[in-house]
Structure formats: structure tokens, C-alpha cells
């Protein structure tokens, strides 16, 4: 697992030189230092069963889209996370060939992205563009595009209804897309993306405009698809959504990948610069605090205002949990709950970009 765009294994906001232009968001070092399944890789590594970005840069004239991106994305749900303008959409458009890299190359399961006739047999993409061909119903849109894929009328009809059913749009399928609400348009875009049963599903901000129930249902659907072995790449600027959805994350800022991997792994690598915070609710927080302060890795222990527990900061969470177990066994401490307080994407992202905010890429 790696944080960074390549080069030295990154450790946190202060590590390494970051990317050019000072926009590496927290100065995570460039490089490929790999230590896990989702490590940045080279084009050669597992190119046939991964989505590989090999030193990819994209510039819109003078404006940076993304720069020096090295990624190797395995099956499962991968979240692209970053603020607006961080390069998420650029990365996705590069992935499906809507954009061509200014430098480097992108291969999706071994396929070049400039061969749509091959690529879109296995790739489905729901863009963030909220526009549709005029005058069509949801069903007509999907069925017509399936016919463009080459399906015969009977199969296109069956696949279109199947896709609409999967996104809960069967009853609205006969209505004009122009009359749909934002949430319904999101669903029909998703239906269009999954209708031909792709292996790779790329979804740009798919949760936008969905009500909470629809979000939960969509997340369940994405998990189901990922469980079936699909590559599902999802972008969002809402960090906790990505936290909920993703098996692994790619964090972007200002056009640079500032971290990637599973979120716990990213967090672990940052322990030296940003000690992990653990919230413990127990019956004798003062006892626990006394024991904790005897440990050299605990840098802070703060009593909660209602004295029902402690907020601890430690540079070695594993040793802290061992110590906690000993206290429970030896002292009879009753623990109500133990939870990491800053191991979510939002906290990690904040740590990464705090030192150097983004520098004007675009999404």
C-alpha cells in the first residue's frame, strides 16, 4: 500500500517532495513504493487484469488536469476522492478514452483506450454530464444505445428492462428523460452504464442527487457488482461516501495522486507524523490514562468532558491495543467501546492536504 504518486514510499504530509508545482497536496512523495495489493504499479505488472495508468499526465493547454499518475487498479470498488477540481473526472475520462493523455499511457484490462470498439464491450461509464439526447424516454435511451452496441432488438429490449429494473426505474422507464428529476437521471445514467454487463464500471459522482434510501441501495448494488469480480471505480468529493463504498481509495489533490490504497493502510503509514486517535469509553478512564502515559508511544490522553472515557493519541496503535487488553485482563477494566477517531478518509485526506492545499487542477 502506498501513499504518493510514485517514488519514495510516502509517509505523510511532510514526507518527500510532492509533485511539481507545489500541488502535491501535503507533499506526499512521488514514486511507486509499493507495499500492498493496490500499490502504484508499472504498466507491466498485471496489466491484463488491472486498470493501469503509466506515468500519465493530462494538460488542457496550460491548465493541469492530472500529472504523473501511476496507478494499478485491481478488481473491487475503488474510490477516487478529492475536492472539486482535483482531477477525478479527468482521470475517469482518460480511463475510458474520452480524453487522450498528454503523456504516458492508460490500459484497461490490457486494452488501449483509443479502441472503443474493444474497450466498451467491457467498460461502462456513467459520466457526470447531466445531459441526454433529446426526446427520448429512459427506456428508449438505453435500448437505442444497446442497439448501437450491436445487440438485436430482442436482446436490447431485455437488457434495457433488466438494467432499468436494477436501478429501480421500470415504472419511470416509459417517461421522457427530460421530465426526470436529478435522482432519476442519475439512475438512468447508471442503468445505461450497466446495461451491457461490463467488467469495468466507471461512475462519476454517482451518488449526487440520490435520496438516502437510493444511496444505500446503490451502494449495495455496487458492492454486489464488486463481489462478482467487477472493477468498480467511483468518484466523489464527499469523503464519507467513499469511506462507505470503497475497498481502496485514490486521493487526488490539484491534479496529483496524494495517496492510494486501503484507507487503514494509508492511515498506518501516517502514524509517525499524525499519531492515531483512539476513542475509548470505559468505567475507569483515569486508570487507563495512567497506564497509557507509561507507554512511550502514547503522546496524548485526554479525558472526555463527561468523564466517560478517553481520547488517546498514539504512534503505535497496535501496541496500544495490546496494552488495553492487558489492562482489561489485569485490572478488570470494563470497556464500553473502542473506536479509531481519525482513521476515516476525511481525516486522512485532511492530513494529506493540510500542509499544501491544492493548486488548481480541474475535475
Amino acid at each position: 500500500m502506498t501513499a504518493g504518486t510514485g517514488g519514495a514510499p510516502a509517509a505523510g504530509p511532510q514526507a518527500g517532495g510532492g509533485a511539481a508545482g507545489g500541488g502535491a497536496g501535503g507533499g506526499v512523495a512521488p514514486g511507486t513504493g509499493a507495499a500492498g495489493g493496490f500499490a502504484a504499479g508499472t504498466a507491466a505488472a498485471g496489466a491484463g487484469d488491472r486498470i493501469v495508468f503509466d506515468d500519465v499526465s493530462k494538460f488542457y493547454g496550460e491548465v493541469l488536469g492530472v500529472n504523473r499518475v501511476r496507478l494499478s487498479i485491481p478488481p473491487g470498488i475503488t474510490g477516487l476522492v478529492g475536492p472539486n477540481g482535483s482531477g477525478k473526472t479527468t482521470l475517469m475520462n482518460l480511463m475510458v478514452g474520452l480524453l487522450r493523455p498528454s503523456r504516458g499511457s492508460v490500459r484497461v484490462l490490457g486494452m488501449a483506450t483509443d479502441r472503443p470498439e474493444q474497450l466498451f464491450r467491457r467498460v461502462g461509464y456513467a459520466t457526470q454530464y447531466d445531459a441526454f439526447p433529446p426526446g427520448l424516454t429512459g427506456y428508449q435511451l438505453i435500448e437505442s444505445l444497446l442497439r448501437v452496441h450491436g445487440y438485436d432488438p430482442r436482446q436490447a429490449d431485455a437488457l434495457a428492462w433488466r438494467a432499468l429494473e436494477r436501478v429501480g426505474m421500470v415504472e419511470a422507464g416509459g417517461r421522457k428523460v427530460a421530465a426526470y428529476s436529478k435522482g432519476m437521471r442519475q439512475r438512468v445514467k447508471l442503468a445505461q452504464a450497466i446495461a451491457h454487463q461490463p467488467s469495468v464500471l466507471v461512475l462519476d459522482e454517482p451518488l449526487n442527487g440520490l435520496d438516502p434510501m437510493a444511496r444505500a441501495e446503490l451502494i449495495a448494488l455496487l458492492r454486489e457488482l464488486a463481489g462478482a469480480g467487477l472493477w468498480v471505480v467511483v468518484s466523489s468529493h464527499i469523503l464519507h461516501e467513499v469511506d462507505l463504498i470503497s475497498d481502496q481509495v485514490v486521493m487526488l489533490n490539484g491534479g496529483y495522486v496524494v495517496a492510494e490504497g486501503d484507507i487503514v493502510g494509508v492511515r498506518d503509514e501516517m502514524e509517525e507524523q499524525h499519531p492515531a486517535q483512539v476513542l475509548i469509553r470505559c468505567d475507569r478512564p483515569d486508570l487507563l490514562a495512567a497506564r497509557a502515559f507509561a507507554q512511550d508511544h502514547v503522546v496524548e490522553a485526554r479525558m472526555l468532558a463527561d468523564r466517560s472515557g478517553l481520547l488517546l493519541r498514539t504512534r503505535d496503535a497496535a501496541r496500544f491495543y495490546q496494552m488495553l487488553n492487558r489492562v482489561v485482563v489485569d485490572e478488570g477494566l470494563t470497556v464500553e467501546s473502542v473506536a479509531p477517531a481519525d482513521a476515516d478518509v476525511e481525516a486522512v485526506y485532511q492530513y494529506l492536504i493540510d500542509a499544501e492545499p491544492g493548486n488548481g487542477g480541474r475535475s
Binding site: 467491457r122 437505442s144 438485436d152 433488466r162 432519476m184 467488467s199 437510493a214 454486489e224
Partner: protein
């Protein structure tokens, strides 16, 4: 009920597992889509991934694009102006046929022939067909860029060259149908007020059908040539209307151009194919008319080159919609 709740209610049902698709043999070249397990990836398409030209697939894709283009661009309210434009010439002749004393001598078919020639070259060809082709072909790609829906095609396993060809052929079919019918109706309405016996003789035993065939040929070549030009302009200009206006002006002053420059105007070759030559006026610079075969082959070659330019252009096209 808030908007989001309305979404859920309107959509009617939650996301759910998919039912099985009907199984059955696939036609030649069809993508596998039948009884795959839920979420299973679709398999490839015969032909396209294995070398060789998948003609059956390409034919189906051409048909599918044409069907979609017709549905969204030519069968809705958007196309109303186009229909009105195509109906204008027959309406003029119909009005003339209905007006009392509009026909000075019902026994003189020469008047009708001259009027048809003038109206065809001055209005149908230069205005109706020209502007109609701007509207049809200039918008085939450009409008989809402007309304941000072109990517739907780009996200299908369709060769982009094939997309351009399919769009062009659809536009050509629509323009040929509309303006061919307009030319046909105008021709018959032009002769309608005249003596029936003379009219029948002109059509069946005289040059009538040859004239009609020539007008239809010129209309077809105009649609093909102008269509290819405006399709290509759609790739190079944010608004094809501006270069179209420049081309309109160039074609309009064609009669004033020296012989060398006349050869780079489309109307020069189209006029040479018209059955009734007309005076270009006292200020016209005269030039030898090209031969029939030079005109036909030249216009077809121009069409092929311009469509090829469009296919090359779309192959390199990126979708960001940021510049539009």
C-alpha cells in the same frame, strides 16, 4: 414530499437484483447478453475482436445510429423548421396554381419550364437545399457537443469512423427525402395549371422526365456535397453557421468570379447539370461549363474527401465539453 422522496416514489421501486434474461441462440456477431449470471461481464463480439471486418455488426450499428438520429433529430419538434423549409417551394407553385390570372397562357409550357428553372436554381438549390443542409449536417455532431450528449455514442463499442458515416448517411437520407420530395412536388405543381394534354405530352413524350431526373440528380448531389462540407465544418468551428454564411456568400457571387475561382464553388458544377441554362445577368463573367461527368465525379470526389476528413477528425476528438 421533498424532491428526493418524489424521486423514489416516481421511480417506483428500489434497486434490486436483476431477473434472468431470456436465453436463446444469438444471431451472427451479436454480443453475448443472454443468460449471464448477474453482474457477469459481457463477452466480446464476434469479428470485431478477432480480426477481419465484422460487416454484420457494422451494418447493425449503422442501422442503430440511423434509427437513433432519426428519432431524436428528425422526428420531433426540432425538425419542424426543416419541414417548413422543404415545403416552401411547392407552396409557392401551389399558390401560383391557385391564383386567378397567374398563368398568362395555359398553352405555353415554356413559361413553366423557365419558371421552374429560375425557381430551382435561384431558390430551391441556393436557399432551400443549402440552408437545409446547414441545418441537417451542421448539427449532426456540433449540436451534440453543445448539448453535451455526444459522449453517449463515444461510450459504445462503435468505431468513431462508423459513427461519422452513419450520421452522414442518415443526414443524406433525410435531406434526399425532404428536398427530393420538394423538388418533385415543385416540378409537378409548376406544370399543373397548364393544359393537361400538353402537360402529358411534355412529360411522357417530351423532355419532361429528363428535366425532372436532372433536377433530382442535382438535388442529390447538392445534398451530398453540401452535406459533407457542413458535416466537416461542424468539427472545425464552434458555430458552423459562420463558415456556412461565408460559403453562402461565395456561392451567391459565383457568377461574378473569374473562371479559375468558379471552379472552387459547388454551384458551378451543380448549375452545369441543370437541364435549362439560365442567363447569369449582364455583369457575369462567363466560363465554360464543366462536362456532366466532370461535375458528377468532381462532386462525388469532394464528398468522399470531406467525409474522410470528418472521420479523421472524430478519431482524434476528445470529450471534455470544457471549451464549448
Amino acid at each position: 414530499m421533498n424532491g428526493q422522496a418524489q424521486d423514489a416514489a416516481a421511480a417506483g421501486s428500489p434497486l434490486r437484483p436483476a431477473p434472468p434474461l431470456p436465453a436463446g441462440p444469438l444471431p451472427d456477431g451479436a454480443p453475448a447478453a443472454g443468460p449471464l449470471p448477474d453482474a457477469a461481464p459481457a463477452r466480446g463480439v464476434a469479428g470485431s475482436d478477432h480480426g477481419g471486418a465484422p460487416w454484420a455488426l457494422w451494418r447493425r450499428q449503422l442501422g442503430a445510429v440511423a434509427r437513433l438520429e432519426l428519432r431524436k433529430s428528425f422526428l420531433g419538434k426540432r425538425a419542424l423548421g426543416l419541414y417548413l423549409l422543404a415545403m416552401a417551394p411547392p407552396a409557392v407553385f401551389a399558390l401560383r396554381a391557385m391564383l386567378p390570372r397567374a398563368i398568362a397562357d395555359p398553352g405555353n409550357l415554356g413559361d413553366a419550364t423557365l419558371l421552374m428553372a429560375e425557381l430551382y436554381q435561384g431558390f430551391i438549390l441556393r436557399v432551400v437545399v443549402f440552408l437545409g443542409c446547414v441545418a441537417i449536417f451542421g448539427n449532426l455532431v456540433r449540436r451534440e457537443v453543445l448539448d453535451r450528449s455526444l459522449h453517449f455514442y463515444f461510450l459504445t463499442p462503435l468505431r468513431r469512423e462508423l459513427l461519422v458515416l452513419a450520421k452522414y448517411l442518415t443526414g443524406l437520407a433525410v435531406s434526399l427525402t425532404l428536398f427530393g420530395a420538394s423538388t418533385l412536388a415543385s416540378f409537378f405543381l409548376a406544370y399543373l395549371p397548364y393544359d393537361a394534354r400538353l402537360r402529358a405530352g411534355f412529360l411522357l413524350h417530351g423532355p419532361g422526365l429528363a428535366h425532372l431526373g436532372a433536377y433530382l440528380l442535382v438535388t442529390a448531389l447538392a445534398c451530398a456535397g453540401y452535406g459533407a462540407a457542413f458535416l466537416a465544418l461542424g468539427f472545425f468551428f464552434r458555430s458552423p453557421a459562420i463558415p456556412a454564411l461565408a460559403l453562402f456568400g461565395w456561392e451567391a457571387i459565383h457568377f461574378l468570379l473569374p473562371p479559375v475561382l468558379k471552379q472552387v464553388s459547388v454551384i458551378h458544377y451543380l448549375q452545369a447539370l441543370c437541364p435549362v441554362p439560365l442567363s447569369q445577368g449582364p455583369f457575369a463573367l462567363l466560363a465554360d461549363a464543366p462536362s456532366t461527368w466532370v461535375s458528377i465525379c468532381g462532386l462525388l470526389a469532394l464528398t468522399v474527401v470531406l467525409v474522410a476528413v470528418s472521420t479523421l477528425r472524430i478519431r482524434r476528438m476528445e470529450i471534455s465539453y470544457l471549451d464549448d
